[in-house]
């Protein structure tokens, strides 16, 4: 079992170009359909849990299914198998990059790659902002209470206020971003108690 887990995740790690959601179909095929270590519902739950907890989806899924299939060490070998191929490939690329980055054509290429990458990150920022400002999921009290329907979309006022305050804090007052994360989490947590005191019981 341990070996099956290791090789399955080795394969997944090796094929997961693009990161993040690119890995979902691979896990679905190898872990859900072939090995049947997870049901389809559990697979969806893991995606949700993965978004709620830190860490890449691939590692979260590997840990979860590994522990379920073969205990603690199952989790360890799955996670290890998942990251081993990428670590080796990245180290080779890094070695080549730092050795040859003086070559003029590589510098030319980087001139285009750098702004292209920033465009990608900009898109990722935009989609995160979109998902917190506009919620159509109303499973959270806090979202129901503070959402207002503006032109057909549910605009969340509370998250916009927190966003603006935190943005000013980071940009203008140079607050440490970890502290900002903790403050943001506390603010929504505390406002939940004000909305619904029954949650304490």
């Amino acid at each position: 079992m341990i070996w099956t887990l290791f090789f399955t995740y080795l394969k997944i790690g090796l094929c997961s170009f693009g990161g993040g959601y690119a890995i979902l179909p691979l896990i679905n095929q190898y872990v859900v359909t072939d090995l049947q270590l997870l049901s389809h519902e559990e697979f969806i739950d893991i995606i949700a849990l993965s978004q709620m907890t830190p860490g890449p989806l691939a590692i979260n899924a590997a840990t979860f299914t590994g522990i379920r299939a073969a205990g603690f060490w199952g989790g360890v070998v799955s996670t290890f198998g998942c990251i081993l191929p990428t670590c080796i490939i990245v180290l080779v690329l890094a070695y080549l990059f730092y050795k040859y980055n003086e070559i003029i054509y590589i510098r030319f290429a980087l001139r285009g790659i750098r702004p292209a990458v920033i465009g990608l990150i900009g898109y990722s920022a935009l989609s995160i902002i979109y998902s917190i400002f506009i919620n159509n999921q109303t499973s959270l009290h806090i979202l129901k209470k503070f959402s207002f329907n503006v032109g057909g979309v549910n605009l969340n006022i509370l998250s916009i206020i927190i966003f603006v305050c935190a943005f000013i804090g980071i940009r203008k007052y140079k607050l440490n971003s970890m502290i900002v994360l903790v403050i943001c989490g506390s603010v929504t947590g505390i406002s939940l108690f004000f909305i619904d005191k029954t949650i304490l019981v």
Partner: protein
């Protein structure tokens, strides 16, 4: 020897904390890395972080893991890479082990969900902050309009089409080479 140990230790616990608190996709953790290693520790500069992202995108695997391997390698060689990858993987591993034990609690608990939602707002702020300062860094090294145009094109394409990041790297590389060669000969003929 002691100095090297101290370097590895700082690398380890910085990536450990980053990985433990950062919820969201790969770019999020990279922007947090930028905050810690560029703005606070000043071990690398902003364009180097962008290079690290580009190389990470050219390999398979999660962006967060790849970027931490590269960051560790850049700062402390292969040993540094080993340390940072451990720092990045350990927190999600343990958190997921705990989640496994309290699976039903996590999937239904409203307080946990609400606090995590608040953290996501903070995450959105820090990724925006990172994008803004990266744009400024790029503008400093490349004064032509070329970089702004490529940024806008890349941003627009990623909104409209859902294509793999590796094509953005390839496209950027081709545009960069073409434009630089064009600029070199054009300016030479003109001057």
């Amino acid at each position: 020897m002691e100095k090297k140990f101290k370097l590895y230790f700082t690398l380890f616990y910085t990536t450990l904390i980053l990985s433990a608190v950062t919820i969201g996709g790969g770019y999020v953790i990279v922007s947090m890395m930028k905050k810690q290693f560029v703005d606070k520790l000043r071990w690398i500069d902003e364009t180097e972080i962008i290079d690290i992202i580009s190389i990470s995108q050219s390999a398979p695997g999660p962006l967060a893991v790849n970027a931490s391997v590269l960051l560790g390698y850049r700062i402390g060689g292969v040993g540094g890479a080993l340390v940072t990858v451990l720092g990045t993987v350990i927190p999600p591993f343990f958190i997921m082990s705990i989640v496994y034990l309290f699976y039903n609690f996590f999937i239904t608990n409203i307080v946990v969900k609400t606090i995590l939602y608040g953290i996501q707002i903070g995450v959105a702020v820090s990724i925006c902050d990172a994008v803004l300062s990266m744009i400024r860094a790029i503008r400093k090294t490349d004064k032509s309009h070329f970089s702004i145009i490529v940024m806008i094109i890349s941003f627009a394409i990623s909104i409209i089409f859902n294509i793999n990041a590796i094509f953005f790297i390839l496209g950027g590389a081709i545009l960069g080479i073409l434009y630089s060669v064009f600029e070199k000969y054009y300016l030479k003929n003109k001057g």
